[in-house]
């Protein structure tokens, strides 16, 4: 069967975008993806919109985004997989092309979180957890979930607060180099460790941001892709898995089983091994999440994620550069947009268009996108070669 490639990308500035509505914000990304691919709305066969929702006005956002971007009457749906919604949209768009039903599909991710105040944003995010048995009775928050995971990881493997802080330092360093990032400020380990506690042991600089942002990627079938662009980036492997909603139902909470399983599927589909990955975007909603992702994706052994960042191996020049766009931590984490934006960044890297943040000779890239506290995981492997 035919291959599928990314032939166009769009990525807005992330941050507090109180200058635009969600429709205007999505339009920015869609326009850029169209221009990047040289296509027009009439070329698109199907549009998949990723949006978590609740922060913004539309309960059913897809039609309003399509109308604003002149994409009617193209078929569309919204997909949601909590913080992995963006990757779910990329996978659904991939399926629609790979199934042969359409030649060109557009995955759009968008979120406008600053339309509500912080306690409400914390509430809406907390409700991605088990509302019945965790949120309503105990007010669990997302920093809280990852703090539970962090405490367990620290107890089991001796991971330290300093190592967590080192992830933040790295991601702030690259965020400062990325004009699209929400934060442009390098930080030190000391600053991170001394920042205020959000959910112990996680502090302010361990946590991703509340963000507004949008991204869009255009996928095309093999035949079309070769006509559209000289630099297609091929989707080589895909994997997805879920884990229990109730955290207590998991045997070991210091690992995200969904990551382990989803990445195994993607590696198997491609024949690529972790050591063959040149650059990765991993889901660093919290610093501990990046450390665990190193382990669960096979970039290091279980329990050695803390050591990997301590040795600087995930910087450009290290064994496996990770989140060299700033990550969710410094670039921002507009929920529905994130997975699509990670894809756009990997495409930039494989095209060699990442400027100061370019990983030399990047041939194979990986996107790892987690939904909620590991309830969902999507892994996608991209290559310059198909």
């Amino acid at each position: 069967m035919g291959k599928v490639a990314v032939v166009g990308i769009g990525h807005t500035k992330f941050g507090k975008r109180s200058d635009v509505t969600i429709r205007e914000l999505a339009f920015e990304a869609i326009k850029e993806a169209l221009e990047d691919s040289g296509l027009t709305p009439s070329d698109v066969g199907f549009a998949v919109v990723a949006n978590y929702g609740g922060f913004s006005e539309d309960m059913c956002p897809a039609p309003y985004i399509l109308e604003y971007a002149g994409l009617n009457p193209k078929g569309a749906m919204r997909v949601e997989a909590a913080c992995a919604s963006g990757s779910a949209a990329v996978h659904a768009a991939y399926w629609s092309v790979r199934s042969g039903l359409t030649d060109i599909a557009l995955a759009i991710g968008v979120e406008k979180m600053f339309q509500v105040d912080t306690p409400t944003a914390v509430e809406l995010l907390g409700r991605a957890g088990d509302v019945l048995w965790e949120f309503i009775p105990f007010g669990t928050t997302f920093p809280g979930y990852y703090a539970l995971i962090a405490t367990d990881h620290m107890n089991k493997y001796g991971t330290t607060e300093e190592q967590l802080a080192m992830v933040a330092v790295k991601n702030h360093k690259y965020g400062a180099m990325n004009p699209l990032a929400q934060l442009h400020r390098e930080i030190t380990v000391e600053e991170a460790i001394n920042s205020r506690v959000i959910a112990w042991p996680l502090k302010l600089y361990d946590c991703c941001l509340i963000s507004d942002g949008a991204a869009a990627v255009m996928l095309a079938s093999e035949d079309k892709a070769k006509k559209i662009t000289d630099t297609p980036v091929w989707i080589r492997g895909l994997g997805s898995a879920t884990d229990t909603g109730y955290l207590g139902r998991r045997k070991d909470i210091s690992t995200l089983q969904a990551t382990v399983l989803a990445s195994k599927q993607a590696y198997k589909m491609t024949g690529i091994e972790p050591k063959d990955v040149d650059v990765a975007e991993v889901h660093d909603c919290f610093t501990i999440a990046e450390i665990i992702a190193y382990e669960d994706l096979g970039f290091c052994k279980k329990g050695e994620g803390g050591k990997l960042i301590e040795e600087g191996q995930t910087y450009i020049g290290g064994k496996i550069p990770v989140n060299v766009d700033g990550g969710l931590k410094s670039k921002g984490h507009p929920i529905g947009a994130s997975g699509v934006a990670m894809t756009a960044e990997i495409v930039k890297q494989l095209r060699g268009e990442a400027g100061k943040r370019q990983v030399p000779k990047a041939e194979v890239g990986l996107v790892h996108n987690v939904g909620a506290a590991g309830q969902f995981c999507y892994v996608t492997i991209y290559g310059r070669e198909g």
Partner: protein, 153 residues
């Protein structure tokens, strides 16, 4: 025996930016209705948009509307949503503006039995200072002053 349930409340207050069409809201305050018109392809948009869905230009001109419109269709809402419980029944109409776009708004100051497809309407700005609420509504077209939003036929 009463069955147990878990009661839960979710309350969301949001603030939706209107920065890029600020002129529209200023216009309403001044008793004027503005639409946007794409400088590239000429399409007119009401509600106004800051970008053109047709040609992707973001160079839009503001044009003032006459408010002249012709009724296409209407309904009388009796069962209203929670946030409109004190307002029902209300008449919602769609009418075609002289300038092109079809617009949805309340149709006020009219008896239901007097409504007919094709009748001439006027889309007028509505400003309720005490509620700081800016809106617009249809009234029957007439020649006298309707600055206070009431049509005196």
């Amino acid at each position: 025996m009463e069955q147990p349930t878990i009661k839960n409340t979710l309350n969301i207050d949001m603030e939706i930016p209107q920065t890029r069409i600020a002129k529209f809201w200023e216009g309403l305050k001044q008793g004027k209705l503005f639409a946007t018109k794409c400088t590239k392809c000429g399409e007119t948009y009401f509600p106004p948009t800051a970008d053109c869905p047709r040609c992707y230009s973001s160079n839009m001109n503001w044009i003032e509307l006459t408010g002249d419109a012709e009724l296409i269709t209407w309904t009388i809402v009796h069962v209203s949503p929670k946030s409109f419980s004190q307002h029902s029944p209300y008449i919602i109409a769609i009418a075609k503006l002289k300038e092109g776009p079809n617009v949805m708004a309340w149709f006020t100051g009219i008896k239901p039995e007097d409504i007919k497809a094709g009748m001439k309407l006027k889309l007028v700005p509505k400003y309720i200072p005490e509620k700081e609420k800016l809106s617009y509504e249809f009234i029957q077209s007439c020649n006298i002053n309707f600055r206070d939003g009431v049509c005196r036929l």
